[in-house]
Structures are given as C-alpha cells and as structure tokens.
Amino acid sequence: MRARIVGLLAGTILLAGCASAGVRGTGDLGVVIERANGSVQLVSTTERAAIGRVAGLGDLSHASVVYSRDGRYAYVFGRDGGLTKVDLLRGRIDRRVVQSGNAIGGAISQDGRLIAVANYVPGGVKVFDAATLELLAEIPAAYGDGKLAKVVGIEDAPGNRFVFSLFEAGEIWVADLSDPRRPALQKFKGIGKEPYDALVTPDGRYYLAGLFGEDGMAMLDLWHTERGVKRVLDGYGRGAQKLPVYKMPHLEGWAIAGRHAYVPAVARHEVLVIDTDTWREVGRIAVAGQPVFVIARPDGRQVWVNFAVPDYSTVQVIDTETRRIVRTLAPGKAILHMEFTPRGEAVWLSARDDDRVVVYDTATFARIAEIPAAKPSGIFFTARAFRTGF
C-alpha cells in the first residue's frame, strides 16, 4: 500500500483511476501492446477506455501476454527476451527480467505458479517462478549434434506441462514441470519440417503444430502421448507451389465453434473448416486475403478474420451456421489483432497505422468506441487467465 515513486523510475505511470479508487476487480481489464514504444495501455472493457499506460517494456515488435490466475498481473513477453510482470491494479511494472536475446512468447502453467518462455536466441525454454520471476529451469532446445533450435508454439497443458516445437529440428517436446526445478522431457522427433506455431485445443487435449516446410499438421494427443505424433490435415499448408506468405498465420487463436474448427489457410485466401472429431477438412470459405487471425466469438456463432499485408485493412465476419461471410468491415489501417470481450458482445481491433483501437458491437456491427493508442498490436483481456492455451 506504500505509494511509491519508485515505479516512475521504471518508467511507469500510476493509474489515476485505479490507484485512488480503492477496491476493484480485474475481470473487465486488459492490455493493448504499443509495439513501437515498448509500452502497454491498460484498458477497461466496461468503460471502453484506456485507464493507464505502463512503459519501459523493451522491444514489443512481437509481443504476447498471459495472465496470472487471479487476473491481476499481465506477463508480457517481448521480442528482445524481456519478461515483464505488469500489475494492472497499481498500473506499474511489478518485476522485469531480460531472460534471453530473442523470444517469441510464453505460457503460464495450469496451477499458475510457473511462467515458461520460448526463446529463439539462445534456442530453448526458460521457466520462471510466476510470483518472483526467479529462474527455476532451463531447457536448451538442443538437437542433432548439439545445435540449438528456435522454440515456437509453446502452450500450457494439463498436468503442469508445457508443450512446444523446435523450428529447425522438427521436434515436439513435452516438459512436465511437476517438479519445477527438474523438468521431465518427452521428445517427439521427425514430426515434420519447420513447425512454426501451434495451438492446444480448449480442453487441453490436443496439441497441433503447423508446418511451414511441408503440408499438414503434427498432432499430439496429450491424453495419450504414448501414441506419438500423428500427421493430420494433409491438405493444410502452402502446397507444392510454396506460395508466398506475407505474415505467418497465428494458430493460437484457432476458432473452435461447436465441433468445427475454423483455421487460417496458409498463403491462400481461404479459411478452412475442420471437423475436430475426425480432424478432416469439411469446407473452405473464400475470404479477402491471407488470413492471420481467425477467432470465434465466445458463443461460437461468429468467426472474425483479419489479413496479412496488403489486405490488412479489411476484417470479415463469418456466420458459422451458414459458413458465409456476413460482413466485410473496414475498421482502419493495418488491423493487427482482434480480441473479444469475455462474453463477446464487443470486439476490440487494433488499427496500427491509425494509432487507435476500435471497438465494434458484434450484434449490430456498429462502431461503438475508439481509443487512441500508439501503433497498437496485440490486445489481451484478463479472461485469458482462465483458458488453457491462452
């Protein structure tokens, strides 16, 4: 409760609203990454406004966020290896470590005690105490004759496990952190060329890695790891012609609506519909560009899609009952990310080149708010705290 000026030294700005208002929850809060400034805006989905800004987070050109299970702290993973724990209530940096030279993202364990970071340089995973950011374990991604691979697609899984893929090695590793200082590793080799991102299904059962170097996805059943990695979705990928991909599709936000998953096709202007019982493709929907994020509204009735450059100023909405595009929106220039409010009545979109976040009503498609933000990219709400794979 000490009102500290110390936070300002770290470049933080106290939350005018929160710090003085006393008691409040965090269920309607979130952060917006300001990628060029190394800062995050703290936002409220109730007020539809920014309530503060925290700076000093380093290079956020590719940044992602996970939340503590109490929804109070945002762990921000920066490009430069920075891991910053931001206190949403006090509006400042709680702790920060620069843990590698180049990182891609991270995950929080099922029990909320561990933060794992996937690193490109040096290639591997580091595991930290979520409370103190003390380093607990290092897992070098060594393969072949000892070279280190870039680690991608790190996901949390039930049993305090982290699952991740090795880009150059074509391997999937499962690290059981039941004993946080002694990770037990299971390695799956020869899973396919160049896994570039991955996701875990909402129930935490299946881990799927997209392959850049060949078609198809590598799937691991986390209930039965003894069965090994299987190849699914043989038609999924760039195809024999290796079409250019202007931005890697992100798999983590995979939209699962009912028994169907809506996934970004690689390089093609299509969203694929996958039956999650059989893991076979059951449909394709033509869209306005190369999809990057394909995200379901929490009720599964709509799927929103954004696109890679040069089509990144368009957003399309698919109705999952008819599998048709019901709306094509022009929310602003360079839409990089989309995040639904916890129950989906609104969606927030970051318009990088307009320097603002725009909010749409998902029932009427009316634009209901605009929030100034400097080169916004990722938007992350605290409801992620309660979802496996987020």
Binding site: S61, M248, P310
Partner: protein, 130 residues
C-alpha cells in the same frame, strides 16, 4: 534455415497471381500515394516514398525480422549480419523471396527501385521510421 542456398527463383514471382488488383490499387493510392515506378532502370524513390518504405520495413518486415531488425523467425538484417552480401542479392531476395525459407517475394508490393533502396539502406544501417 534461412541460408542463401537457393537465391535464384525468378519463377517464384510469376507463380504468384496478384490476388486483389483492386486492393493493390487502393493500397498504392492510399498508402504510397506516388507513382509506382516499376522499371528496371531503378530511379531513386521520392523522399515521401522512402519514408513509406522505411515504415514498411520496420513495421511489416519487422513482424519476422524484428522492428530493430535484429531477427526473429527471420534472420537479423543489421549491417553486421549482412556483411559480405551484395546489394543485388539482397534486392533479389526482397523481390523474389527464398522458396526454401519463409521469406516471401515482395514484387507485388515493391518496385525494383524500392527494393534496391531497401537493400542499400539495410547494408548501410537502416533509417529509423518510428
């Protein structure tokens, strides 16, 4: 990964059918606002165009190469990392991509002159565009 194993893929460009002529035209008008000089006799981009290119490299190329160009899934593009690579090679990769890596060819979006300007600036230390 990301080596110069196969530098010459002129075919890659022709394989890519322009997806959205309208969107591209709009992009040219809205984002670039200048004439698209697509001649091989690469004229230096205008200062306005140069500023747009610098922004694009930092923001869009930065998705894979990092906004500070120190690398990500794609390799670092700072002068030290590119040392010894000719500008013509870098320009070729920008325009045509490298089919053995994730690097796409940007010829649908960049002219010869644009790519040449970017290649030279990368070798000399890329300007800030924030």
């Amino acid at each position: 990964m990301h080596t110069e194993r196969s530098m010459l893929h002129g075919a890659a460009r022709s394989r890519y059918g322009l997806p959205h002529p309208l969107a591209l035209a709009l992009l040219v008008i809205l984002m670039f606002g200048v004439t698209f000089a697509n001649s091989a006799a690469a004229a230096e981009p205008s200062p306005q165009r140069a500023a747009q290119l610098a922004y694009m490299v930092r923001q869009d190329c930065g998705s894979c190469h990092g906004m500070t160009l120190t690398g990500g899934l794609g390799p670092a593009l700072v002068p030290a990392a590119l040392k010894g690579k000719p500008a013509a090679y870098i320009k070729h990769v920008i325009l045509n991509g490298n089919k053995n890596t994730a690097m796409p060819g940007w010829s649908p979006l960049l002219s010869d002159a644009d790519a040449e300007w970017i290649a030279e600036r990368l070798l000399g230390g890329f300007p800030d565009a924030r």
